[in-house]
Symmetry: C2
Subunit: 234 residues, 2 copies
């Protein structure tokens, strides 16, 4: 808590969760500036942070308001573990295989590496409350992270971050697919059951690809929920 605007953001969040409800009016920017003894621009920085997270919204001429709770979660780049915890499940994981193998055409294209370049491939069954939730296959260029660095007992993201490979953003593609017999057996559902297929290309802040993951979620246990807005671009 170094910056003033962070103090104000936190103060507002506390006010929101304790004494205010959805669509309630927050103090005006000028009031807050006086209350915290800062300039109004600093208050605006604090509110901008909250608006970015959809915790509040502003209406020109009217004021700043608390956003509805169920709108507040924009999709974030999370690990399976974080995702499950936030959904109220206890996550666990079973490694189905680790390989080093040449990249196929699609993987190479996604990761922006030459076809046939060696990739770390990690296949895991993901469980929630002890029963199958998803089947995940991750590929990372061996040139970035090698098999010998990998500790299967620890979080992959943590280890990537330690190697200077921070995932900053990702491109996700979501489709609906029928499960083949092998995958359906692993996920313990009938052959041909639908699954949510999420392909994710994780990138650094500079935009260079780090990780390509394909995850099959059991359709009966998993869904995506996210907000969309009209404006944004221009």
């Amino acid at each position: 808590m170094v910056h003033k605007y962070e103090v104000i953001s936190q103060g507002l969040i506390e006010k929101i969760v304790t004494t205010l409800g959805p669509n309630d009016l927050l103090p005006s920017e000028r009031e807050l500036a006086q209350e915290y003894g800062v300039s109004r621009m600093t208050v605006r920085a604090a509110i901008a942070k909250l608006a970015e997270q959809s915790r509040v919204y502003q209406i020109h001429g009217a004021g700043t308001f608390v956003a509805s709770r169920d709108v507040s979660k924009a999709p974030r780049l999370t690990s399976f573990t974080e995702d499950m915890v936030s959904r109220g499940f206890t996550p666990s994981s079973r490694v189905l295989g680790v390989w080093v193998e040449p990249a196929g055409t699609d993987v190479a294209q996604q990761l922006g590496i030459p076809e046939g370049a060696e990739c770390l491939r990690l296949k895991r069954l993901r469980l929630a409350d002890g029963s199958p939730m998803a089947l995940e296959e991750t590929r990372i260029p061996q040139s970035l992270f090698s098999l010998s660095q990998l500790d299967l007992a620890r979080s992959l993201y943590e280890q990537l971050a330690e190697a200077g490979l921070d995932l900053y953003r990702a491109e996700q593609e979501v489709r609906s697919v029928p499960l083949d017999s092998a995958d359906s057996k692993i996920l313990q559902v009938n052959v041909g059951s639908p699954a949510l297929c999420v392909e994710r290309l994780g990138c650094s802040r500079r935009g260079s690809p780090i990780e390509f993951a394909r995850t099959l979620y059991r359709a009966d246990r998993y869904s995506f929920r996210f907000p969309v807005t009209r404006d944004s671009s221009e």
Copy 2:
């Protein structure tokens, strides 16, 4: 083009699309301030707008850079027609039914109206390049928009906007579901084929529900693509 920061944003966009490529360095904030004869805070406002749209990214101490072009824009709240056009299809539509009927439990809960309150229900088959793409069912509280106001030949969103019901944001839930025999026949795929089921609750800027839509997209023709970022919260 009233505001100074908009002029600067536009100028930067032009520079980006004409003379710069991904990860190229933009002029510093101070240079731009001088070039445009404005304060640095105004330049920052312009850049903040572009960063919000992921057209540029900033690295503390290093500079402002052009984002990779293949980073798709965050999902926006669009009509089926807009969505298809942006995907390169020619959209069309066939109305399968229009009713006024009492809201069921789930619809009432979503729209925040009493169970049994009258709703406008509109069921449409959506086509892309002349063949079935999606099956869409929309419900709007009759108290907000009545059947007699509806012109089936025109865009529903346009008519809602004219009635003062601007959709500002929406909550979307995306699942994978198998198609039953009736729906699969309409969409011209095999029974049990997977589909992407998108449920959308469209709201006003103030957060009051306006429209609840459930759309079944053919899995073989449609997928979602969107970016996620790590930061945001905290």
